[in-house]
Structure formats: structure tokens, C-alpha cells
């Protein structure tokens, strides 16, 4: 009996061993992607998650508003009582005392779906999409290059600072990139003649349209695929291609309806509306009207703005700042890779492999356009050149291309170098990437700093949960206000008169108005006014009571003195 069971166990072990050896890469990848998901949702797993950034807070507010009021327009009746827009302290633009979002509809709907399932779900969705993006990057690279290049480039990209940092935030760049790379994978199936089925056409159209829902600029990258599609036109089935285009257009039409519903023009997005289009073309400005030609004029304005922003602006750049930016946003994040990517392009353009060549043309056009469009346009101020600024998140697509091409070149060298030499180069590159990522996360890139700040805000949120539901918290968005989601917040930094005393007086009047309406009022210190101190000294009819005191914040309750 014992002998029989022993041989059975032996056989099972042998089967496991055989399976492991046969699928060692797949097993490694499974655990690696699992690890990536854990890293990308580190803030959420460690209970340090909240919509901390300005953009994230806006997304959160609008998604919650969508759940509560079934509307994409946010309005707070209390706001009408005050001169300053103290209740509208997150992004968006105000029109007729209503707040319109400038975020994309995609991220709002994604957060909305997540919030329906739970507080942490939107953050997990972002991390999950980040991980999916990494998986599809591997598959895409495998289609264009080979398994080894796909593996190394996926590891380098997924462990890079921008991916780790921005997958932990409620920001739409990572989901947009992931959806785009997923669409690109399905397109590559068609363009490399791997799989020419209808499902690939439809899936690519689906993911590209979802990308556009997340971030509008990705439409340009989709258009940059045209030369590749044209070159491979013989392998494309026209019927399927037309179906894909129809699906793509069909999936985008709700955006046009939403735009029309919100901004009275199908092509006017919140972002464009907020920036009062177009400001630098006085001879071509068409005033927004509400009359007969209002919609048409708005549409003309939008196209003029797009022309101005995407075609005229990239030409005007400062070369020195451009070089500086390239150093900070490309070289400093991937120090070892840039040189390899330049040489990689040379090799691909000299070679005869069509799929690589087509990809190289596509990636080069996209990267050059994006670098020249984004860097000079956004960053004409030297003080903005910082790794910790939001800019690296716009470059995810460029980073991805740089990594793919450079890893291709490194493997190309294996044909010429000895094994040990080649091995050494790859290991050194991975070591640099990990070292650089960890030093950016823990130092210059502020990821750990933001993690700690979010942890503090989570603690504040937990405390606020115990307060009455109609409580209003006075604070300052430069300290603790963004990320507070449990109670309504009011931003003191919106009150900016010349004298601090005057500001305190206005704030106190606002407190009194709200107290008269029976709202429980709390002040969170610190704020730039030191409001509690002012009230204690100057307002005899108000009482301030410290409710909670922590190392980094204090919460006070304010109420009228009983007569």
C-alpha cells in the first residue's frame, strides 16, 4: 500500500516537474504580472488610497455626482450664497454657477462603475488596467519582435517609474495607454498576417474607441497607423476593415451627444470650453453665441483651437528647453536606453523586415510628434522641468516605443557580441532600471512622499466618517483638502483678498451663514489663514472646540455661544 501511494506521489511530482519545465516562461509571467498588479495597487492595498491629485479629485466628485444625481453637471445650491466659489475647489469650469468637468468621460464612467462596487474599486480598476496594458505590451512585442525582446521590454517598462507611480493614482493616462496598446496588439495581429479574423478588427476598433474615451489625444496616434495600414493594404480584408471603422465611429458617437448635451456643440469638449478657445487668433475668433449660428460657431472655434494647438504650436519651440526636457523626461527616467533606441532605429531602417520597419515608422512619427508637441507647448518655463511633475505620465507611449526599439537593438547585438558580453549588458541595464526606479520612487519622484500624504488623508477621511452627514469641513486645498471624500469640503484658498485679516473676516462670515442654516461646521488645520486663531481672538459669539489632534493635522468644531 505504502509502496503504491509513494509511486503515485512520485508520479504527481514528476508531472508537476514536467509541467513546470515545459511552461516555465508562462509560470514566470503569471507570477510577474501578479507582482506587477500588487505594485500598481500598492497604495490601495496598504490603505493609503484617496483621489489625492487635483484631477483625481475632480474625477471623483463628478463620478459621485453621477451616482447621486445622474448628471454630469455638478452644482451645489450652497455655492450661490457666497461671493467666492469656495465649494468648487477642484478642476472643471464654472458656468451659471454650475460646474462642468474638463476630464474625459471615460475616466468618469470608469470611476463611476468602480464606485458602484466600493470605495477602493476605482483604484483597483486603474491598477488592473495598468497590468492588462503590460500583458498586451508583451503580446504586441511578441508579434512584432520575438519572445525574448517582448519579455525584457515588458519587464523594463512595467518596472519603470512613470508606470508604477501613475498606476497608483486615479488618473487616466495609464488606462488610456493600456487600452491603446491592447488595440495595437489586435491591429498587429492583422498587419503581421498572424490572424486576419473579423474578431481582431472589431476588438481593435473597440479598444481604440475606448482609448479615445479615456484620452482624446490618442486619436492622433490611431491616425498615425494609416501609413502602416496603407503599406499592408493587401493583407487587409476591406469588408472587415469597413465594419471596424463603423464600429469605431459608432462607439464614439455617445461622446458627441454628451458634448452637445453639455456644451451645445458635438466637437466642443470641456477642456476646450474651459480654455476659452482660441485666444491667439483675433482675426479668426468667432464669438460664442446662443442664437442660430451658435453651434456652428462653437464648432469652428474648436477646429481653430485644435489647429492652433496641434499644428502651429509645435513649431514654436525653444531648442535649449527642448534638450533640457528630453534630458529630464527621457534620459533621466531611462538613462541606459536612449542611446540604444537611436541605434535601434538605424538598424531597423537598414534592415528588410517589413513588420519591424512599419512599426518603427509608426513609433518614430508618434514619438517625434508627441515630443515636439508636448514638451515645448507645455513646458516653456524652466521651473516646470521636474521629474515629479505630471509630465512623464503623458509620455507613456513614447517610453514604451523607446524601450521596445532599444531592447530590440540589444538583442541585435547578440549576433555580434559574445554571450558573456551580451549577458552583462542586459543585466547591467536591468540593474540600472531597477536602481533608477527605486531611487525615483523614494526620492526625486515623490511617490513615497505622496503615498505618505495619502495615508494621512485616509486617516482624516476615517475620522470625518464619524461626523454628522451634513457636516462641512473648512480647509485649504494646498494642505489637506484634496482627497477628502467623506464630507463636503470648502476651500479657504479661494478667498484671496489683499489682507489676511480681511480674508479671515470673510471666512468667518461664511461660517456664520452656514451655522445659521444648521450645518455642523469643522475647520481642518493647517490652512493658510490660521482661521481658528483669528476666531478665538476676534469672535466672541463663536466657540471653537478641538475635536481631534494628530501630529500633522487638527480638527476643530465651531458653534454659536449659547446666550
Amino acid at each position: 500500500m505504502i509502496y503504491k501511494s509513494n509511486s503515485k506521489i512520485k508520479r504527481i511530482f514528476e508531472k508537476i516537474k514536467f509541467f513546470t519545465l515545459k511552461n516555465k516562461l508562462e509560470i514566470f509571467l503569471f507570477f510577474f504580472f501578479l507582482l506587477i498588479f500588487v505594485i500598481y495597487s500598492w497604495d490601495t492595498i496598504t490603505d493609503s488610497q484617496c483621489p489625492f491629485q487635483f484631477d483625481a479629485h475632480e474625477t471623483w466628485i463628478f463620478s459621485k455626482n453621477l451616482i447621486q444625481n445622474k448628471s454630469l453637471i455638478y452644482s451645489d445650491p450652497l455655492s450661490e450664497l457666497f461671493e467666492h466659489k469656495i465649494f468648487y475647489h477642484f478642476g472643471g469650469f464654472i458656468s451659471n454657477n454650475k460646474l462642468y468637468t474638463i476630464r474625459t468621460y471615460g475616466i468618469i464612467f470608469l470611476t463611476y462603475l468602480g464606485l458602484l462596487l466600493g470605495y477602493k474599486v476605482p483604484f483597483y480598476l486603474i491598477s488592473l488596467l495598468g497590468t492588462i496594458g503590460v500583458i498586451f505590451l508583451y503580446l504586441f512585442a511578441k508579434n512584432i519582435f520575438n519572445k525574448k525582446i517582448a519579455l525584457i521590454s515588458t519587464i523594463i517598462f512595467s518596472l519603470s517609474y512613470p508606470m508604477i507611480n501613475w498606476s497608483n493614482q486615479l488618473i487616466n493616462n495609464v488606462p488610456a495607454f493600456s487600452l491603446f496598446i491592447t488595440g495595437l496588439y489586435f491591429v498587429s495581429n492583422i498587419l503581421t498576417n498572424k490572424n486576419n479574423r473579423l474578431s481582431n478588427y472589431i476588438l481593435s476598433a473597440l479598444f481604440f474607441s475606448l482609448t479615445f474615451w479615456m484620452r482624446y489625444e490618442y486619436l492622433i496616434f490611431i491616425l498615425f497607423l494609416i501609413p502602416w495600414i496603407y503599406k499592408k493594404r493587401k493583407s487587409i480584408k476591406l469588408k472587415y476593415f469597413i465594419i471596424a471603422i463603423l464600429v469605431f465611429i459608432f462607439l464614439l458617437t455617445p461622446i458627441l451627444f454628451l458634448n452637445y448635451h453639455l456644451h451645445k456643440s458635438p466637437f466642443t469638449f470641456g477642456y476646450i470650453e474651459a480654455r476659452q478657445i482660441p485666444v491667439k487668433l483675433p482675426d479668426k475668433i468667432v464669438k460664442n453665441e446662443t442664437g442660430k449660428n451658435g453651434v456652428l460657431n462653437k464648432m469652428i472655434n474648436t477646429f481653430l483651437w485644435l489647429y492652433h494647438r496641434f499644428l502651429l504650436m509645435p513649431i514654436r519651440f525653444d531648442f535649449i528647453i527642448l534638450i533640457n526636457n528630453l534630458k529630464y523626461y527621457l534620459y533621466d527616467i531611462f538613462p541606459g536606453l536612449i542611446i540604444f533606441s537611436i541605434l535601434g532605429y538605424v538598424v531597423i531602417f537598414k534592415g528588410k523586415e517589413k513588420s519591424k520597419l512599419n512599426f518603427a515608422i509608426f513609433s518614430l512619427i508618434s514619438s517625434i510628434f508627441w515630443i515636439f508637441k508636448l514638451i515645448p507647448g507645455r513646458l516653456l518655463k524652466p521651473e516646470d522641468i521636474k521629474i515629479e511633475s505630471p509630465i512623464p505620465r503623458y509620455f507613456l507611449i513614447v517610453y514604451c516605443f523607446v524601450i521596445l526599439i532599444s531592447v530590440f537593438f540589444i538583442f541585435y547585438l547578440s549576433k555580434k557580441f559574445t554571450k558573456i558580453m551580451h549577458y552583462l549588458i542586459i543585466i547591467l541595464l536591468i540593474t540600472i532600471t531597477i536602481l533608477n526606479t527605486s531611487s525615483l520612487l523614494m526620492g526625486k519622484g515623490y511617490t513615497v512622499f505622496v503615498h505618505n500624504a495619502k495615508k494621512q488623508i485616509c486617516k482624516i477621511n476615517l475620522i470625518l466618517k464619524e461626523f454628522p452627514k451634513n457636516s462641512i469641513v473648512f480647509g485649504d486645498r494646498r494642505f489637506f483638502l484634496h482627497g477628502i471624500t467623506e464630507r463636503k469640503t470648502l476651500d479657504l484658498s479661494e478667498i484671496l483678498m489683499k489682507e489676511e485679516k480681511e480674508n479671515c473676516k470673510i471666512a468667518t462670515n461664511y461660517i456664520k451663514t452656514l451655522l445659521n442654516l444648521n450645518y455642523p461646521i469643522y475647520i481642518i488645520e493647517k490652512n493658510y489663514l490660521n482661521l481658528t486663531n483669528y476666531i478665538q481672538k476676534n469672535e466672541n459669539d463663536l466657540i471653537i472646540e478641538k475635536v481631534i489632534s494628530e501630529d500633522y493635522f487638527e480638527i476643530y468644531k465651531i458653534f454659536y455661544r449659547e446666550k
Binding site: 510577474f32 519579455l151 541605434l343 538605424v346 555580434k416 540600472i432 527605486s438 513615497v448
Partner: protein, 136 residues
Amino acid sequence: MKYIKSFIEKNNENLKLFLRINSTIFPIIIIIYLLLLIINQFWDKIFQEYLNINAIFILLLISGTLFLIPITKEEKKVSQIRKLERKDIFIFLIMGLICSVLVWIKIKDFGTLSYVISCIAGLITLFLSIFIFYDQ
């Protein structure tokens, strides 16, 4: 163009020798460049006070471009698929360990997290080596 052609014809032998030397130097420069980048992670004064990384970058770019000129004509594989031996695993382990230690030195101020990250870094290096060089 004519002048360049005649120059190449005249100095064909010298050019060949130069390119051969360059093909030996190029991998060495790459490794030096990557090592310097690693050293810079721990001692950033090296590029501020002693060395100009831009010069090495440009040198590498020129050397790399020259390296690519003859390479497309003679694409013969130096390396061949080998079987995984104990000796190789030992080398990979050491490389993984070195990577772990370097990462740990860099982030040691972060307590337990630094041990976790450095362990993961070492494991990734170890497994990657196995997959890259001994793929079936």
C-alpha cells in the same frame, strides 16, 4: 560624393582596420557607460565633477553608428544555444545577488520595504538570465 568615394578606395585597408578596432571598442564602451550609470546612482559627483557623461554618450553614438556600417553585411551568430549547467546557475545567482545588494544599498533607509524590493530585483535578474540564455 566623388571625393568621399575616392577617399574610401584609397584608405580601404586603414578604414577596415579602424572599423575592426571600433567593433572591439564598442562593447567595451557600452559596458563602461552602463557601469558609470550604476556608479552615478551611488556617487552622483562622478558626473558633476570628474566625468562628462554627454561626451561618453556622443562617443558611444559615433562608435555605435560606425559599428553598424559593416554589421549588416556579415550577420553571423557568435552565440549558440547551450544547455543549462550548474556553473551557469551559480553565475546567475551571483549576478542576482549583486543586483539585490545594489538595490538594497540604494534604498536601505526604507526599512522592511527595502528588503522586499531588493529580493524581488535579485529574483527578476536570476529568472531573466535563465529565460534569455537558455530558452528552448
